[in-house]
Symmetry: C2
Subunit: 179 residues, 2 copies
């Protein structure tokens, strides 16, 4: 079997291939990265859904609700990490990015299936205390649909093979790192 | 089947049961939480291994190398999140914590198996550029073995059932949240 992580070039190819698979395939590990952001009391993290990955542009796309905590946090500090752990490949992918917040793309919202529209909007806002799980109105609101466009500035991989291989990709340059 | 996430009490029980399982079972989802920290350029994240979970004390334990980036980041900002995504249970657990850095526990280091000792130490330090994957000396160093003791101040869960249920546990109080 070819060792997909033997060279830096091949490792970077694997990263973008796996991100592409995450966009296309609900079951791929890169479908659900963890998004880490800076909050008022330290770092915050949650699972998100990867909607697009563009190697040429170096961007990743996530959809969210403008009233969510992550949007407030990214307004304060745009520097974030998207993390993918691919258990089968024993590959960790850390994507350091600056995230743009793009509101008001009502055309994109209109193209979403009804069930997906339900993820944006709702009263009270996400994270507000309520008396019981059903005590909220899920009515969607196109104005709350928000695109997070992550501009990747650095990729770091760790492949737990023999040997362990850690690598960094930044500004067109690549290097191995001590694991 | 009993709905394990129907009440706040039962949800919190599930959290600590699953954390305990992560400590005991290499294949449990809570074995490998993501640790998010605040770095110089924004949030950082990586997968870690959960070594202990103490419900009474409200603490989680991780082992690391004192020369790792996360130790430097936690020295600056102790506020961090540990995130567990349990795919099968459709349960996300966010543990907001302040992390103490405990160095020099050479007794604990001495009790580790040889293979585990190799994770602490090594020259050059983790994350240093090297010419090829093997170009580093992995010799362990007891003085670099470091315990991260995370004091959990808030737990937030999201169960993707019908309905979605989001809950928060803090200072002995529990509440449902709008999802």
């Amino acid at each position: 079997m070819t060792d997909l992580f033997a060279s830096l070039d091949s490792t970077l190819d694997q990263v973008w291939q796996r991100l592409g698979r995450g966009v296309a395939d609900r079951r791929a590990p890169a479908r659900h990265p963890v998004l880490a952001t800076v909050g008022a009391d330290g770092a915050e993290a949650r699972v998100v859904v990867l909607r697009a990955a563009d190697r040429e542009a170096g961007t990743l796309t996530i959809h969210t609700d403008s009233a969510s905590g992550k949007v407030a946090q990214l307004r304060e500090t745009s520097g974030a990490t998207l993390l993918v752990w691919d258990e089968k490949a024993k590959l960790q992918i850390r994507l350091r990015a600056n995230v743009d917040i793009i509101a008001g793309d009502t055309d994109a919202f209109a193209r979403l299936p009804d069930a997906a529209q339900m993820n944006y909007g709702g009263t009270p806002a996400p994270g507000t205390p309520i008396s019981e799980p059903g005590a909220h109105d899920p009515a969607p609101d196109a104005r709350r649909f928000t695109v997070l466009l992550a501009h990747v500035r650095e990729i770091e991989t760790l492949h737990l093979g023999t040997p362990h291989r850690r690598a960094r990709f930044r500004d067109g340059a690549a290097t191995w790192l001590a694991p």
